[in-house]
C-alpha cells in the first residue's frame, strides 16, 4: 500500500512545485543571458534578472515547506482525512508516504537549484570556458575516500531532512490533540521539538565533540557524518513513533 500511496502523494506535491521549477529555469536563462551575451551595456538587466531568479528560488523553498505541511495536515488531520483516513492503510504507511514524498521533493528542489546553476552557466557562456580535462582531473583527485565522504554527506543530509520533516509532522500531530487553537498548539509543540532536538543533539554528539576541531581530516569528517546519520535516524524514529502512536490511538478528526 505504501507504493500506492506514493503513486498519488509524489505527484500531489509536484503539481505545485513543477510550475515553479519551470519558472525558475526560465529566470535562470534570463539571468544567464544578462550576465553573458547581453552584459555589455549596463548592470541593470543583471540586477533585475538576478532578483527574479532569487525571488523564484525563495518561492520554491517557501512553497515546498508550505505544501509539505499542508499535505500532511489536510489529508491526515483535516477535512480530507474523511477520505484518506478511511483508506485501508496503516498510520505508519501514511506517515512514511508523506515523509518520503517530502524528502523526494526537497532533494528534487536541490537538484533543480543545481540545474538552474548549470543553465546560468550555459547561457552566460561560462560553461564553455570550463575545460573538461581539468574537470575530470579534479574529479579523479577525489579518489575513493573522497567519494565516500561525498556519499556520506548526501546520506547525512537526506537523514537530517527526513528527521526535520518528521519533527514538523510530530508537532502538527501533537497540536491536533488540542481541539481549539490547533495552529498555536502545533507551533508550541514545534518549539518543544526543537528544544528536545537541541538537547538530544548535544548529548548524542558529546562523545565526538573534539572531532569538530579537525574537520580538515577526512576520517574525522566521515565519522561525524556517520554519527550525524545515526542521531538523525534516532530522532526521526522518535518523531515517527509519536505521529504513529497519536494517529493510531488518539486520532481526533473534527
Amino acid at each position: 500500500m505504501l507504493g500506492k500511496l506514493l503513486k498519488y502523494e509524489i505527484p500531489a506535491l509536484g503539481r505545485s512545485l513543477m510550475p515553479l521549477y519551470i519558472g525558475w529555469t526560465a529566470t535562470a536563462v534570463l539571468l544567464g543571458l544578462a550576465v553573458g551575451p547581453l552584459s555589455s551595456t549596463s548592470d541593470f538587466m543583471v540586477i533585475v534578472t538576478g532578483m527574479m531568479y532569487s525571488a523564484v528560488a525563495t518561492a520554491v523553498v517557501v512553497m515546498a515547506v508550505v505544501m509539505i505541511i499542508q499535505r500532511y495536515k489536510n489529508s491526515l488531520l483535516g477535512d480530507q482525512a474523511y477520505f484518506y483516513q478511511v483508506l485501508p492503510v496503516s498510520a505508519a504507511e501514511h506517515i512514511a508516504s508523506k515523509s518520503i514524498s517530502a524528502l523526494v521533493w526537497i532533494l528534487l528542489s536541490g537538484v533543480a537549484m543545481l540545474l538552474t546553476g548549470l543553465v546560468i552557466a550555459l547561457f552566460s557562456g561560462e560553461l564553455l570556458k570550463i575545460s573538461l580535462p581539468e574537470l575530470f582531473r579534479a574529479l579523479a583527485e577525489l579518489k575513493l575516500s573522497g567519494w565516500l565522504t561525498v556519499l556520506l554527506s548526501i546520506i547525512a543530509l537526506a537523514f537530517s531532512i527526513t528527521k526535520s520533516i518528521l519533527g514538523i509532522y510530530a508537532a502538527i500531530t501533537i497540536g491536533h490533540q488540542v481541539q481549539k487553537h490547533t495552529v498555536l498548539a502545533s507551533i508550541g509543540a514545534y518549539i518543544g521539538v526543537l528544544t528536545f532536538e537541541t538537547c538530544a543533539g548535544r548529548i548524542l554528539f558529546a562523545p565526538i565533540s573534539r572531532l569538530w576541531y579537525r574537520l580538515d581530516d577526512l576520517a574525522s569528517f566521515n565519522l561525524i557524518m556517520v554519527v550525524a546519520i545515526l542521531v538523525s535516524a534516532a530522532l526521526g524514529a522518535v518523531y515517527f513513533f509519536i505521529c504513529r502512536y497519536l494517529m493510531e490511538n488518539k486520532l481526533n478528526i473534527s
Binding site: 503513486k7 477535512d79 474523511y82 496503516s90
Partner: protein, 231 residues
Amino acid sequence: MARIEINGLTKEFTGLTALDSVDLSLEKGQIVGLLGPNGSGKTTLIKILNGLLKPTAGTVLINNMTPGIGTKKAVAFLPDRNALPEYMTTDQLLELYQDFFEDFNREKAEAMIADLGISTSQQMKKMSKGTKEKLQLCLVMAREADVYLLDEPIGGVDPATRDYILRTIISNYNEDALVIIATHLISDVESVLDDVVFIKEGRVVLHKPAETIREETGESVDQLFREVFRC
C-alpha cells in the same frame, strides 16, 4: 454475530458528552436510518465507526473487528462533505478507488457515471456541487462492501438527484450488506428504511422497524420523529 455491535459506547469532548453509553446491534441485509437532529451524536458515532475518532469508553465491532484496516476494507463511507482530491478527474478518481479498495467494481461505477452524464475527463473542482455529490456517491456505492455508511446522502441535492440516490441505494441492496443512512431529512428516506434508530443527546432513544412504528402508532416515522424531538 451482528454486522455492527456497539456496547456501552461513550465519547466525551472537553465539556461535552457526545455519546453516552450507546448500545446498538445492526444486522446485515438491512437499510437502517440513523436519525437525529444536528448535534445529537450521529456524526460522532459515524466517525467512530470509521476510525476517525477514538471512543472514550465502550466497544465497537464491525465484522467482529474494532475499527482499523480490517474494517476500513469492509466499510464504504460517504462523508457529508467532499473529501476527495478535487484536482483529480473522474477517470483518475476511478483509478484511485481501484487502487485502494479491493471490493471496488469499476464497471459498475462507470455505468453509474455514464447514467448520470458525469464527464470522465473533467476535474472534480470544476464540477457543480450536485455533480460532485453524485460522483462521490457513485464511487462509494460501486464498492461491494459489507457496510455502507452514508452521512447525509441527500442533504442539499435537488429532488431528481435525491430520487436517483434513493433508487441507487435500493438497487444496490444485497442480503449480506448493511446500509446505514444518517440524516435528518426523514420524510425523504423513510420508505426505504427497514429499521429506524433515533439518537437524542448522545443516547439511542428508539430502535425499531419502520413498519412497526407505522403499525403501532398510526404515524409516519417523520411524524414520530417530530414528536420525540420537539423543541
